[in-house]
Assembly symmetry: C2
Homo-oligomer: 246 residues x 2
């Protein structure tokens, strides 16, 4: 078993590059035992594990294991309190489905990795069939997004798409498009009856949904707020809608 104690080791330096999106073409890093177990349960291809010496026994099977020091675990994860394991997992983009039918969540240009991860986790919890995210949304394979997502990317397919193409596909497949807006010139979500196939589109934290989505949507939806706050956090709003529509 390989043992590495130096941060300047070539393998460590190469692996750390996976913190940057441009290097995450074929693999990405996950941190912590929970995600490692989720990866195993999902039969994800785990290419390598970096673990503390006293944790190595917890990694069974034929995965290559590298024993590293606590400093290196810290270096490879971006967590304040890393859990003694970082794993490199093969990145497999799912193929766009030939037919669309089911319940979908769409994220249009959501910037914050925590929001993106939390919404995917919520869609998973609520039993949605897939999540579609626009090119400009936060990357789902960053450690931050993965932490909020808590393994949900192992449970449901996540497609990175161009929004205009996606809207066309929804229309061709009779998937009803519900776009969320802050405007009260739209329907309160409590008055909405959803069909079997629908997609909820959540927009950017500051700007909301794009003009294109607003024009193409079958229905514009808002959450009526009797209180004084001007808006809801986008992940909270998504949670309310996703659970209301199941």
């Amino acid at each position: 078993m390989e043992v590495i104690r130096s941060k300047s080791n070539r393998l460590i330096k190469e692996t750390k590059k996976l913190h940057q999106k441009k290097y995450r073409k074929e693999s990405y890093l996950i941190e912590g035992w929970h995600l490692f177990e989720e990866a195993r349960k999902a039969n994800a291809e785990i290419e390598r594990v970096f673990a503390l010496e006293n944790h190595v026994n917890q990694v069974t099977g034929s995965i290559p294991v590298t024993v590293v020091s606590p400093e290196i675990v810290q270096e490879l994860s971006d967590s304040q309190t890393p859990q003694g394991i970082v794993a490199q997992v093969a990145l497999k983009q799912p193929l766009f489905p030939k037919q669309l039918t089911g319940k979908y969540l769409v994220l249009e240009d959501v910037q914050d990795p925590g929001n993106v991860g939390t919404m995917i986790r919520t869609a998973d919890a609520a039993g949605y069939d897939a999540v579609f995210i626009s090119d400009k949304s936060a990357d789902i394979y960053s450690l931050k997004t993965l932490r909020s997502m808590q393994g949900s990317h192992f449970h449901l397919p996540i497609y990175r798409v161009a929004i205009d193409d996606l809207l066309g596909q929804f229309k061709a497949n009779h998937v009803r498009i519900l776009a969320t807006t802050l405007s009260t010139h739209s329907v309160d979500y409590k008055a909405i009856r959803v069909p079997d196939s629908f997609a909820i589109i959540m927009g950017n934290e500051g700007q909301g949904i794009s003009r294109l989505v607003e024009e193409q949507a079958d229905e514009l939806v808002h959450i009526q707020m009797p209180g004084q706050a001007e808006s809801l956090n986008v992940a909270v709003a998504a949670g309310i809608l996703l659970f209301s529509f199941i």
Copy 2:
């Protein structure tokens, strides 16, 4: 008008201490124009404003203004992208109400400032009457919590309390106590009919609610999850419940 360009200035150093909870006895800091406007609308006592030279005209009235450099604004806020204004606001704890009647949110030992702030913002949006937070929950006057809260502490009272006292007060005032749990040995929220006066208790991110709350609650509530995720983010769960019960 005072102008300060040195980070080692005594006023700046004193003010920066307000980043630490132990110094926030009588005042706290807010960052950005949105919170500043909310403070004004709420007639909060703004003790001092630190602003960039080109923003000073935006601060009207009799508030003492100190012109500072961008580096000092950065130093006083903890934001990556500060907005050119930091204000020191008098901290006024609301008196515990003599009578309890209405819709309440209770946070028991919620650790993450972002979660605490987001839940208070959501309770505000949903028109709840007050929020009660346990001693061990994240401080609401940290810049992080304030950022997530988006000014909601100016809209509804937030009481820091001992949970056992609070439960006694709820019982004495016939406020129905609904405690959230992950256990499915409880009632799905969709089956709950709430009375006029009730309190929803959200627990710690890792441990959930305490044994005491579990025992004293009138009803244990969970959110049924048809999908594969093991749990929801606590702020998302709160959002679903708060809006479902209004």
